[in-house]
Symmetry: C2
Subunit: 317 residues, 2 copies
């Protein structure tokens, strides 16, 4: 049995996971990240211990704890080197958690965990290789090859959102100009929607959000398009083009068996994916069969817990 923890900027979710990737029990608490990592990890330990006790397990029933974190990890040392959302540079997360629970602790980037979760129990089960993309605040990317997370020789690989698709274009949070994330994340889609409404004040979107642009989310342009709004349709069409550009790149690089799309934007389902597939199909390099299948990620937020719960398996073996 394994414990998987998804340590997000606003919420920490933990789960008890069996070897097949089923979540037997889960719970969550607010992160309250401003307190510093020691307080946060103390709460995380309490969450885990409470979960174990509530469901009548014992610490000894578990082989290890896996923790997914949105940042750069030194896996060997169990250190969080850097994370956009946390002000915890070089924080010894694993050692801190072990102060409270006597189990091995493994860390992994959260997008990598999500990809492993989809491989173990979601959209990429049984595949030889898969890539999972999460369209959220940024674009998370995880690469699973031969059942294992691919993370390069320094644990820092898989930053698929930080590949430039428009050289010299939009400024990205990472400092580069033109990253895919700056065009195809949920944040980017929202910015594109806002900009379009400002340029087209007669758009239905203004009515959908009561003229309060702060109410625009990643669904707004799609909703407007469904209502026949031209501005909404244009935003969606352009967004799909950006999204497909990066997905086509990923396919030309990896030709994975499955390319799974998760995160808020992916909830549009086939309305999004059908159109994305059509554009990708036109542009991919290898036109033969078999082709990469682009599918919706299946596990939602559970992917992070399940993936985190599985990361120790390759380390342990």
């Amino acid at each position: 049995m394994y414990i998987g923890v998804d340590m997000g900027g606003t919420k920490i979710a933990a789960g008890i996971v069996d070897p097949q990737g089923n979540i037997l029990a889960k719970d969550s608490i607010p992160t309250l990240r401003e307190r510093g990592y020691k307080e946060v990890i103390k709460d995380m330990a309490e969450l885990i211990l409470r979960l174990i006790k509530t469901y009548n397990f014992d610490v000894k029933d578990f082989e290890y704890i896996g923790v997914g974190i949105p940042g750069s990890i030194n896996k060997k040392e169990g250190i969080l080197i850097y994370a956009n959302n946390f002000d915890y540079n070089n924080a010894p997360i694993a050692a801190e958690l072990q102060k409270y629970i006597n189990l091995p602790v493994y860390l992994e980037n959260d997008a990598n965990c999500a990809a492993l979760g989809e491989y173990v129990a979601g959209a990429a089960i049984g595949t030889k290789n898969s890539v999972t993309i999460t369209l959220g605040t940024g674009i998370g990317g995880g690469i699973v090859l031969g059942g294992k997370i691919y993370s390069g020789f320094n644990d820092a690989a898989g930053e698929l959102g930080h590949t430039v698709i428009a050289s010299g274009g939009e400024k990205c949070t990472c400092g580069r100009e033109g990253c895919w994330e700056a065009y195809a994340s949920a944040t980017a889609l929202i910015a594109q929607t806002k900009k379009a409404v400002l340029e087209n004040p007669d758009s239905i979107i203004n009515r959908l959000v009561d003229k309060d642009l702060e109410k625009i989310d990643a669904k707004t342009a799609f909703d407007a398009e469904r209502l026949g709004d031209r501005t909404g349709a244009q935003v969606v069409e352009q967004y799909i083009k950006y999204l497909a550009e990066g997905l086509t790149n990923i396919i030309n690089i990896f030709t994975p068996e499955i390319l799974a799309i998760g995160g808020g934007v992916s909830k549009e389902g086939e309305n999004l994916l059908g159109r994305v597939r059509e554009m990708v199909e036109k542009n991919i390099y290898f036109k033969g069969e078999p082709k990469t299948r682009i599918v919706q990620a299946k596990m939602g937020n559970d992917a992070g817990i399940v993936g985190a719960a599985m990361i120790g398996r390759e380390v342990a073996s």
Copy 2:
């Protein structure tokens, strides 16, 4: 002992390679590709048999023949599905070669062979993972992970040149707009140099090529820059920016231990690589240590022969 063949558009080179990746003997013939694949493969077989005889080996001394081809391969069936340079769609290359020589025949994409060659005996020896880029007519890419070529679930992965860095930009031979290859191949550099000379007829370049723009090659802009020519310097600077854009993407995706650069343009050596490294360093996502090392590929054209000679090892094992 293995036989490696590099089947190019103008030349077929074959070599006898030992298990350490040393070429014991090699020879080459013109491809004369217009004759169709059967004639070409017949010549290839004669080349191989002559090589074996000349150097006092016997067919029985060899485990297999590996052939690198610039195209899409069905490895399992030994079929060349499609190649830009050959008009041989779905050609059963392996079966055709076996008509003449009774050895297993394995096919692989030539850029993948070059990457494997650099891993076995060149710039990437002993690495956990490496990527090799060849800057030539196009941009070839090969990914070696854990000592094996990564080629996706359908043998079509690794098309690193066909990743868009400038969405909606220059038309690429693959049909997309804005591929890295259309900006950073030797062909692209030559086109950029020509364009710059037409816009700046007083450039030294015009003298270097006796006002014959067809004499411009991938070295011309660098030569002009060395002579203090402003146009040459501008071309080089812009080219390095394009090259670095794609290399930075590759590092953010793979963080390979070694990123080796081969092909004609790479002969500029440190004058090119030093400046590329500086730009990449500024833009990569993970600023910690250790970092990917960008180095010059070491094996030149031999990489293709050695890599082809090694491709059967993973298949055979």
